[in-house]
Subunit: 224 residues, 2 copies
Amino acid sequence: MKRIEVIQNVLEANETIANRNQQLLDRHKIFTINIMSAPGAGKTSLILQTLTRLKNRLNVAVIEGDVASTVDAEKVQGEAKAVVQINTGKMPESCSLMAAMIESALKDMPLENIDLILIENVGNLICPAEFALGEHKRVVISSLPEGDDKPIKYPLIFVDADAVIINKMDLLPYVDFDIAAFRRSITGLNPEVKVFQLSCKTGEGVERWCSWILEQVETNATKR
Amino acid sequence: MKRIEVIQNVLEANETIANRNQQLLDRHKIFTINIMSAPGAGKTSLILQTLTRLKNRLNVAVIEGDVASTVDAEKVQGEAKAVVQINTGKMPESCSLMAAMIESALKDMPLENIDLILIENVGNLICPAEFALGEHKRVVISSLPEGDDKPIKYPLIFVDADAVIINKMDLLPYVDFDIAAFRRSITGLNPEVKVFQLSCKTGEGVERWCSWILEQVETNATKR
């Protein structure tokens, strides 16, 4: 079972670098959120909505993770204090951001002028669950058109989430999605998880999410 | 670079088993389609629609790939000639079906009584692109709510596809999706690709997809 051992080593090495990243972030009083979801659930839209509402209150930077392309980084450029694009390329690195990639990205950022870093992970509900990046909070976005069975089919990413966002609430009249059943599934896996229902298209519910971030940033600053 | 080498070995070993699978399938005159997509794009719904239309003309079996749960296998049970559930579990196997899993599944199927196997891969646009299973055709489903930029962000899976299905066409009035731009992106990567626009919810467009399968099965049978 050589292969499994190697992967185990990769996960352990990743954990070490993730811890180092968090120490660096803490030294600079930077709060960091790792945003994960399936492709097209709305990570970039959520980041744009969040930047619009928080950019006058916090210095926000963004790290964009994608297999290929810089389209998301281009969208947030101009709204964020700093943007770094990471292209993960080919397997095995392609299916998730890893701590070493964040370590490199942090070297390209003006850390003394940043309060909050939003990390957009690669669109994937499987691999990102396994790789810590050094983030303070882990957030999973699920969007209504994906269906309400995602926590049953991809449990690991929901088990470790600090918050789950139910996005595309504007599509509720047009899709089959049982919100109560979805909430029961995630709280069954993770009783402490915070849940937000919102629409990045209409902006409905985004304010509550931004208030939560502000609270987290404040609590984190007080703790140190 | 030990880790990369190991992954390279895994891909090579996978290729060998995939070739063996295809020889076994060919011996039994079974045509096989590998269906890939992001989570919630409609793989199971497409399989259900396909079974409804083809079950009186072909003996269709289904292999269901999921990280966890048997919800999809339960949905297709009763409609298919045979169903095998594969749960991929933890990393590194979790993020895609692999040829060895299909080899095991084929041992549990009455191969002499099957004309067509539909393989539902794990919901993921990255890993499944790298693992051949022994299938005859590779199909990617993209659904409108995911956005029209998926070929730019996950090119590899589109480059190797024989067909791309644009699903959830019923949501076109409610989402921002430029069908012409999406089609330009995929044919730019893969000029020979066949494209189907359909809605598994309303059934619109599914007939054309099923006719294509029937043609493929026939052409494949004639070739041997």
